[in-house]
């Protein structure tokens, strides 16, 4: 297990370094001068020159990259060229928001997706399966932006149960926090729930027709033990893989959701940074997101090596 972990960690680190180079170069390949974005409406040549000087934009890209990595290793992610605030502070403020949003959406997707998937598989050919499939199809097809606006109109304006925007930390006011987070979590989680449901249903159907399930049934185990203990456990390997891959989509989906619900998370930070060519913020955000993505993949590998030890053995060879 240790050897497997070390190998995967090393691979992850190399990936992260490569990503940082690509991100750094990619951001600088964006058309549009950051000094111009920063100077805004009033752009005198003197102000532009001073901005370029202040943010080291005149140095060559290798020097800029070296400086960035050097500082990043000491935990200094730079200063936002737009707001003048430290980037680490912005990330520190945005991270809990996105993490909470992702966690709630994931929870929603797991509970609803796995539940509906199991029901659809067990009740194959019955109206329950048809209903679950139809809901999943709708969940997959509805654009996030549209669903968000509809939910706001319905549950924040017509019947004001939830809040239309903003973020209050859970620690400050748990109730208000949930009032603001429920709608975005539904928006973000709905697509994922649909994917999870379809995966669970498919995997469960395979498992339920497998020999070991037939054996379990023949031994006279309860229906609950057969479905939950045998079929579902074996189906989860596929579902966890899909969840891991979908977590990446969750992060990108957060970009849109956070815009609709004005949540000050990673997505909003990224969009604002792109439009203002805020290099320091943008590269830090993309790098952190990549690191999270890599970490999630690593965790997925670990989790399914726990669920199915054959995978670990294969990886350690």
């Amino acid at each position: 297990m240790t050897k497997f972990l070390l190998t995967r960690l090393r691979q992850s680190l190399i990936t992260l370094i490569l990503v940082s180079i690509v991100v750094f170069a990619g951001i600088r390949a964006l058309p549009g001068d950051p000094a111009l974005a920063l100077a805004g409406e009033e752009r005198s040549p003197e102000a532009l020159a001073a901005i370029r000087e202040a943010y080291g934009l005149n140095d060559n890209i290798v020097v800029q990259y070296g400086r960035f990595i050097g500082h990043a290793l000491t935990g200094d992610l730079g200063t936002s060229s737009r707001t003048g605030l430290p980037v680490s502070q912005a990330i520190g403020q945005a991270l809990p928001v996105t993490l909470e949003l992702a966690a709630l959406s994931l929870l929603l997707a797991i509970v609803i997706g796995i539940g509906a998937g199991v029901i659809a598989a067990v009740r194959r050919g019955k109206p329950e399966e048809w209903l679950a499939n139809a809901i999943a199809l709708v969940g997959l097809s509805i654009p996030t932006f549209w669903l968000g606006i509809v939910l706001v109109l319905g549950f924040a304006i017509a019947v004001p149960v939830f809040s239309a925007s903003g973020y209050v930390p859970f620690g400050t006011d748990p109730l208000d926090n949930l009032r603001r987070m429920v709608l975005p979590s539904i928006v973000l989680g709905s697509g994922l729930a649909a994917v999870v449901m379809r995966q669970t249903r498919g995997a469960m159907l395979d498992s339920l027709s497998a020999d070991y399930v037939r054996t379990a049934r023949a031994k006279g185990l309860s229906r609950r033990a057969v479905v939950g203990g045998h079929a579902l456990r074996n189906s989860l390997v596929t579902v966890v893989t899909v969840l891991g891959l979908q977590l990446g989509h969750l992060i990108s989906g957060a970009v849109v959701t956070e815009q609709i619900f004005v949540l000050p998370g990673f997505g909003k930070l990224t969009i604002d940074a792109v439009f203002t060519r805020d290099y320091a913020t943008l590269q830090a955000v993309v790098l952190c997101t990549s690191a999270a993505y890599i970490l999630i993949n690593l965790l997925v590998d670990v989790v399914y090596s726990v669920i199915d030890p054959r995978i670990r053995l294969g990886g350690a060879k």
């Binding site: 409406e41 901005i51 202040a54 003048g84 945005a94 924040a156 004005v262």
Partner: protein, 527 residues
Amino acid sequence: MAVALVSLVSGCTSLQSSATEVGGVRKTDERPVRDGGTLTVALNSDPDKLDPSLAQTLVGRTVFAGMCEKLYDIDENGTLVPQLATSLPEISADGLTVTLPIRKGAKFSDGTPLDAAAVVTSLLRHRDLPGSARATELGPVKKAVAVGSSTVRITLDHPYTPLTGVLADRAGMVMSPTALKKYGKDFTNHPSCVGAFRFVERVGGDRIVLEKDPNYYAADKVHLDKIVYKPISDGNVRLANLRSGDVQIGDQMGPVDVQSALTEPNLQLFNSPSLGFQGIGVNVGNVNGLGEKPGKIDTPLASDVRVREAFDLAIDRDLLNTVVFQGMYEPACGPISPQSGIAPGVKPEDCPKRDVAKAKQLLKEAGVKLPVKVELKTSTTPEQGRVGQVLQAMVKEAGFELSLRPTEYTTMISETDEGDYDIFTSGWSGRLDPDGNVSNFLKTAGAMNAYGIGDPDLDKLIDEGRSISDPARRTEIYDEITKRVQDDHSMIYLYRQKNYVVASKDVAGIRVFGDGLVRVTNAGYIR
């Protein structure tokens, strides 16, 4: 109708009408308010640095309006009035010495007293700080000294009439010298000025929080406890938040959102005409980039003024306003707003009318090959896209084949500054003094002259407009400048935006003036 509405507004103190009037002007709501409460203002983007020397954005100015007073301000008629100064400046006969009397007894939010020395410190910082966005505006300031504790004397390199207008914007904001000393470059995270509200915290991308400042000299007239500014870039989302009551004021609302807001009984509308302009810039000589000597461009539009005139004549400004902006903006044909308190410009009804027959005739005289192909660079907003499409249809009838190239804003600015375009949508939020709408754009190698205009006679007029103080003569000069630009058609002015602000109906005392800022100093919830 408009006149009736204006008189209704000015003559009536209890304006309880809802968001029902469009086309009129409504800048204030003077219903009595109670003390206390928090007001949340939705801005259309996140402000940049909260440092008056470095700040560049319009939304930033709105936040400053809550916490940083200026030496001068404007009133609802666009006239300059004293704020931290006590009267308009005294200017010597040669125009080179300007004396400002400073308010006594005022304090900064950190408790430091306001005095002439503090004003001098701020003025010199605005002028000299590396990267200062105020450096150009205050360029002619040679010296500033404190004469006693409440008089500032400024010596200029040459007569500079726009100075008072400049001091009614960020260059006139006075920062606490104690905070400047303590925080230096980090002042942006700890701004301290004289204002009704003081800075509490900023969460980037989410909110800027201000609270009532007990040190403010007119604290008894401030009603609210707190102001929260929230950036919400999407107009739809801004409106949804107004409807749900999560925010009480929506700044910079687009015509479509305003139309939706009109159906809402709990919302009210404020608006004021802007001092800026929107139009089409033609590349007539920008071959080497911004600030460089204009060169020759060999396209029919760039090389022949008759072709540009034909393009201009093919445009129906009224129709453009009706189709794209539901008639909620104002047609325009010059750089200076008719609302300007100084040297007002051309009224919308005096703009040239569409004349396709004459446009065709001009193209024939110019002997160009038809259709004349032109590419229009626009930003990627839906509104700009529609402006492009309407223009496309209009100029086609005269013999132009207009293609559109929507380009993300910063990229567009980069490309147009470099001269990489035929024509592009060019706009400006406007300044109080007409010089602010003219010199940077139209002067040879001006800081924003992306058109490549190079006309020595125009330069001379612009310089004269900046240096003389006689208002009548200035009006003549800016009329002459407007006429020259109109005849040259290098910059084709199309319309002026209006500042639309939608507010919850139980909020009163906000003020929306021509500079586009929402003033909340005296705002509050109605009794």
